[in-house]
């Protein structure tokens, strides 16, 4: 696997938010989910930059949705995780768990 096909830190967070939201995943719920879970302010621009990269890698697909009045008549773009994306998340999780395992500094919340 090339470096280009791997998930970056923020990309992984976006993928996890997408999986958690399921259907109806577009910019607003994704950024809200990220803010809620990480406790950090998230720039919508960076969420879309990550989503575009993920789409280029084939981990995510997207389609334009309906326009609503509260969006000033602008369409939403819905995102969905592909089977390849899901596999990549699992592999990243496996690798991270292996790296995590057996590190006394990071166990029991002492670090």
């Amino acid at each position: 696997m090339t470096k280009k096909d791997q998930l970056g830190n923020f990309e992984l967070m976006v993928m996890l938010a997408l999986i958690r939201i399921g259907d109806n995943a577009y910019g607003v719920p994704i950024s809200e989910e990220l803010e809620k879970r990480t406790g950090r302010d998230v720039a919508i621009g960076s969420v879309y930059a990550a989503l575009e990269r993920l789409e280029d890698k084939g981990f995510v697909t997207s389609e334009l949705g309906e326009a609503t009045p509260e969006r000033g008549g602008r369409a939403k773009r819905y995102f969905d995780v592909t089977a390849r994306g899901l596999k990549e998340v699992r592999e990243t999780q496996r690798a991270l768990v292996k790296l995590w395992h057996g590190l006394p500094e990071l166990e029991g919340g002492k670090a």
């Binding site: 910019g27 607003v28 720039a43 621009g45 326009a67 609503t68 009045p69 509260e70 969006r71 602008r74």
Partner: protein, 211 residues
């Protein structure tokens, strides 16, 4: 629900300077939606600034070769324009030796002959870059504007240092030079259609939805 108008200048900036070819309108929609839910104007402005900067760097980073090609094209047009401006400058000095009228009015003549010429060349530069990079037009035109803005600013500073080293006074021609430098990015953006291209395809539909 009553529609609260988001900061219009911020929306305008994002609509015209947002570099994401697919998601620019979607990002504005997301920001509008969050604004309707009670986010502040400060938040909207911050998100807008971040979206413009992030989308620009994302486009440049994802298309490095294309960006180098676009800036190289800008360089080529700039080299030709410099030659043309140099010829005009020489003609101007020839006129000052030919007539006393030109001698006293050479700054006016410089304004009339050189500044519009530089402006037109940069408009052509912006137009060429936009025409040859249709899919990534905003990012490539912006890359040229940023590059030439930095280049001109450096050039002006070098000129100031040169004046200080040679103990020369601040002259009118440096003012002309500074003026020309400041219009360069604006002309590139104008030529690239950043200010004028209607990128709001379904504005009438949106107006009815807002109502």
């Amino acid at each position: 629900m009553r529609w609260a108008e988001p900061p219009s200048i911020a929306t305008w900036l994002l609509r015209h300077f947002g570099s994401s070819p697919n998601n620019n309108d979607v990002v504005i929609g997301d920001l509008d939606e969050q604004y309707q839910r009670g986010r502040s104007s400060f938040w909207y402005w911050r998100q807008t600034a971040a979206a413009i900067v992030i989308s620009f760097f994302k486009e440049v980073w994802s298309h490095k070769l294309l960006t180098i090609r676009a800036v190289a094209l800008g360089w080529a047009v700039d080299a030709v324009s410099r030659h043309s401006v140099k010829l005009t400058w020489r003609l101007l000095f020839a006129l000052t030796t030919w007539s006393r009228f030109w001698l006293h009015n050479w700054i006016t003549m410089a304004m009339v002959m050189v500044v519009p010429q530089v402006f037109l060349w940069k408009i052509l530069l912006g137009w060429l870059v936009a025409a040859l990079h249709r899919r990534h037009r905003t990012a490539m035109v912006l890359a040229n504007a940023v590059y030439f803005a930095c280049f001109s600013a450096t050039h002006v500073r070098v000129l100031y240092v040169w004046l200080i080293i040679h103990r020369l006074n601040y002259r009118m021609d440096t003012l002309v030079f500074e003026m020309v430098s400041s219009i360069v990015p604006v002309a590139i953006l104008m030529g690239g259609g950043i200010f004028s291209i209607p990128r709001d395809g379904n504005s009438s539909e949106r107006a009815s939805l807002k109502a």
